[in-house]
């Protein structure tokens, strides 16, 4: 099918629109609706303060994703480095001009219009890595110069985010970067030796830690060790989930979540709310929707003919998938509690914006899948 498409140059807007991955956008709307429904319940059956704003942000985000999707992928290729530099610049600026919430500086701007640079760096990293690997000839992709450039592009922002301090987002950014590097086809030996090095480093560190540090890490990994402190919320979240049962307690009836025991239940713990009120059926349905989203995106990547577009779609899919995995694993007690939102469901403008921009970039890559991008047009980094 891809081969029968006419070249994109000179096609009308309508034609480009028809090429957008509408089934993907439809799934996005369905998942977003879960968010609106959950937030309506979180505020005790009221559209204010969260559900209405969430719906508005989703609508704006969707329009933005479509707008980004219409723009030729060629443009985003050209914008990859500038966008990355802007995002990195914001991240560096945070400690100086940022506002702090709960002891960590993560935000820039006033309360009415604030951005969280650790969000925007996520799609910027996908773009910049896709550009880097696209611009290196296939036989040079595993060249140490290329691989270590890629690692630096990931490690610098990840370290900045970890120092904010936001360990969860920092590790998430690092994971996302590694996934894109993996998709780019870098030789296995790098990943094997990287994993080995990490294991050795971790072992050495562990045996040089003081007792209280060891304790702190153990509690972080297994919050139940401290049931009234760090483990309190996760214990309560599990009670909420478990008491939901097969079909849940009914919409707006989640006594555990309606009682104010879970912090951030409108943001990071939104899944708890849904799982308590809609039960196993509801939580698995939401997971299945995310699975459909990821499968659609992988299918899209396969049909794109240029490598840049493929990596962008792959990276966007990874971005969503990692968030879902970490967030859900966190609220069901499989991972320590780190502040990672559930895409399209958690309340939060930055998160929706990041997700929608990533989806928009994937849409652009897919809509312009037959475009021929020439490596020599952009030159090489190395």
């Amino acid at each position: 099918m891809a081969r029968t498409l006419p070249r994109q140059t000179g096609t009308t807007m309508a034609r480009t629109l028809s090429q957008l991955p509408w089934e993907l956008l439809a799934v996005i709307v369905v998942i977003g609706s879960f968010g609106v429904i959950a937030l309506y319940s979180v505020s005790g059956g009221s559209f204010s303060p969260w559900a209405e704003r969430h719906a508005l942000r989703l609508a704006v985000g969707l329009a933005l994703a479509i707008a980004i999707g219409i723009v030729p992928i060629r443009f985003w290729l050209a914008m990859a480095n500038p966008l990355y530099l802007v995002a990195l610049g914001l991240l560096i600026a945070v400690p100086f001009v940022g506002t702090s919430t709960m002891g960590a500086k993560r935000w820039i701007g006033t309360t009415t219009l604030s951005v969280q640079p650790s969000e925007f760096i996520k799609f910027a990293i996908v773009l910049v890595l896709a550009r880097l690997f696209f611009s290196s000839p296939p036989d040079r992709r595993s060249h140490p110069a290329v691989v270590f450039t890629a690692l630096a592009l990931v490690a610098v922002p990840a370290a900045l985010v970890i120092r904010q301090p936001d360990l969860g987002s920092g590790l998430l950014i690092a994971t996302l970067g590694v996934v894109v590097i993996f998709l780019a086809g870098v030789r296995w030996s790098y990943f094997v030796s990287g994993a080995g090095a990490a294991a050795v480093l971790g072992y050495v560190l562990w045996h040089n830690l003081r007792d209280y540090q060891v304790n702190r890490i153990l509690t972080f990994l297994e919050p139940e060790r401290d049931p009234l402190g760090a483990g309190y919320h996760i214990t309560q979240a599990k009670i909420a989930l478990g008491s939901g049962g097969l079909s849940g307690k009914g919409y707006l009836m989640g006594s555990q979540s309606q009682l104010n025991f879970v912090p951030e239940k409108h943001t990071d713990f939104a899944f708890t709310m849904l799982a308590e009120e809609t039960g196993f059926i509801g939580s698995v349905t939401l997971l299945a929707l995310y699975a459909v989203l990821i499968v659609i995106m992988i299918g899209m990547a396969m049909r794109v003919r240029n490598d840049f577009g493929r990596l962008v779609i792959g990276g966007a899919a990874a971005l969503v998938a990692i968030h879902v995995n970490v967030n859900v694993a966190m609220v069901i007690g499989l991972l320590p509690v780190v502040g990672v939102p559930l895409p399209l469901v958690s309340f939060g403008g930055s998160s929706i914006l990041t997700t929608m921009v990533a989806i928009g970039l994937a849409a652009s890559a897919f809509a312009h899948r037959a475009d021929v991008l020439r490596r020599d047009e952009i030159g090489t980094l190395i």
């Binding site: 478990g242 006594s255 309606q258 009682l259």
Partner: protein, 620 residues
Amino acid sequence: MFFRDPDSSAENPHFSRRAALLALVQAGAFAAITSRLYHLQIVEHNRYALLAEENKIAIDVLSPTRGRILDAHGRVLAYNTDGYRVVVVPSLAGNVDEVLRRLQRILAISERERMRLVARSQRQSPTTPLIVAQNLDWDTLATLNLNAPYLPGVRTEPGGRRIYHGGAAIGHVVGYVGAVERRAMDDAPVLRLPWMRIGKSGVEAGLEATLRGTAGRLTSEVDARGRHIRTMDRVDPVPGADVKLTLDLDLQSDIVQRLSEFKRASAVVMDVRKGDIVAAASVPGFDPSVLLEANSGSHWAALNASPDDPLVNRATRGLYPPGSTFKIVTALAALEAGVISTTEQIDCTGTYHFHDQTFRCWNRTGHGRCNLHEALRESCDYYFYDVARRVGISAIAGMARRLGFGRTFDAAFAGQKAGIVPDPDWKRGRFGRSWLGGETLLAGIGQGYVLSTPLQLAVMTSRIATGLDVMPRLVQEDAASQAPDAGSLGISDAALTSVRRALHAVVNESGGTGRRARAEVGSYEIAGKTGTSQVGRASADTAHGDLPWDQRDHSLFVCYAPASQPRFAVSVVIEHGGSGGSVAAPVARDIVDLAMMRATSREPAAGDGDRLDRSATGRG
């Protein structure tokens, strides 16, 4: 199908395989999550359901007690009653209707009220408490607590009402509290509590942060019916701080009483030494305690519907052309710029010609030759048209700002207006047109675009009286955080002295426009300036008495006293009162008398106290 690469010639042959591998990893992750969910929600459901039933943790936000507002002498203007309130939390009550029926045996709840509460419980969040009764005494509280086992979801807690003392006299200054607006509820969790009240106007709004205090938090274990099992953690709320004003309640009440013969009027009394606002009256007023009563709806409607805007504090939000009181500004600007001398005479013919326009002096036949002293004393417009033209609008605007126009002051006065000090930049920004020469002439006599508040007029007068950059303040500072003494205005003593002499002449020399502000013989002397500011386009040829009331001139007077050693500055504005000299001036004199009397009776050690007391009581 999805995972097979349809284009074998793609540059990266690894992509499909690696994507497939990652998809597999993802499938594994979802499988792990699903199995965990299955374990929690299906296998262990009964255990967790039991835990949920037995063990609920409730986190309650504890509202802080609002700080009190006191007057300068420690009299309470706003405080909170003791008392208890009863609330029902629907999510814990289960059947709200049944619980309310049981409560009816203890409390006086009408059938209608019960239905209203039940309907309300269905509209709002089940965790948001419903207020069933307030201001309960101790006995009722004890009865309720005794019956607690039969009243699931019912909670009693301390919670008084805001009460105001001082009636309509203090309404504008103190303001009032009201329910939190929906859009403000996100600012802090405590604002979601249905009984939470925040300042809506006056000091209540301006010093909200100080008065509110900090919310506390109670974490407790409750059973499935909401009954308290044990307290897990308690962070007590920090009560709001008391605020002590510079305002004198008695003086404020007396001044409001004096102004009440007028439909709309305001007056500000400022202690020039420290800038303390001793009184800030605005008529008509409102009694904030009446607003907070249960059935205040009709009262609200009446206040809002009144064309006299009783809710508006005219002292800080009323904007008036300062009229001839502004000639003080023009005079100082001209003296400082050196465009006139105190001796130079200008011949007033009654009509000033500027290009092809004519500007009238209020005295049609002309004042004849007059110098600065005479021009201020008799408020000659012709003189100030010429002086304004010579010195220019920028110098006038600059002097106006130095004297306190065009800005707001102490934040405790919530919702102050800054007024307008016009200059060419302002006009370009506002209307996109350039400044006209004739507008300088109008500004020079305080007409045209110039707008000021009574508070600003009092500040100007204080600054003229002292030569210092006096800042008004409504809140007393504790000794630790006292503001530094006001610095000099930087206006030459010679210029200030000649203006002060002229202001003294306005009241005390024959021909002065403010003769009716003269204090009784044997008392202190007052220095002041009249102002009669035109409203809209009233034709100057119509006899004033024939005009409809709302087209008549505003009557203004500013003054300070004693003239020899200034203590108080006073500004008075009577809306549509007519001429400043005949209406506002005698009111200002009475206000000065009241202020001096209060001051000397509070400070018996003051040297000339006896004499002042006698003169004041003499007037009755």
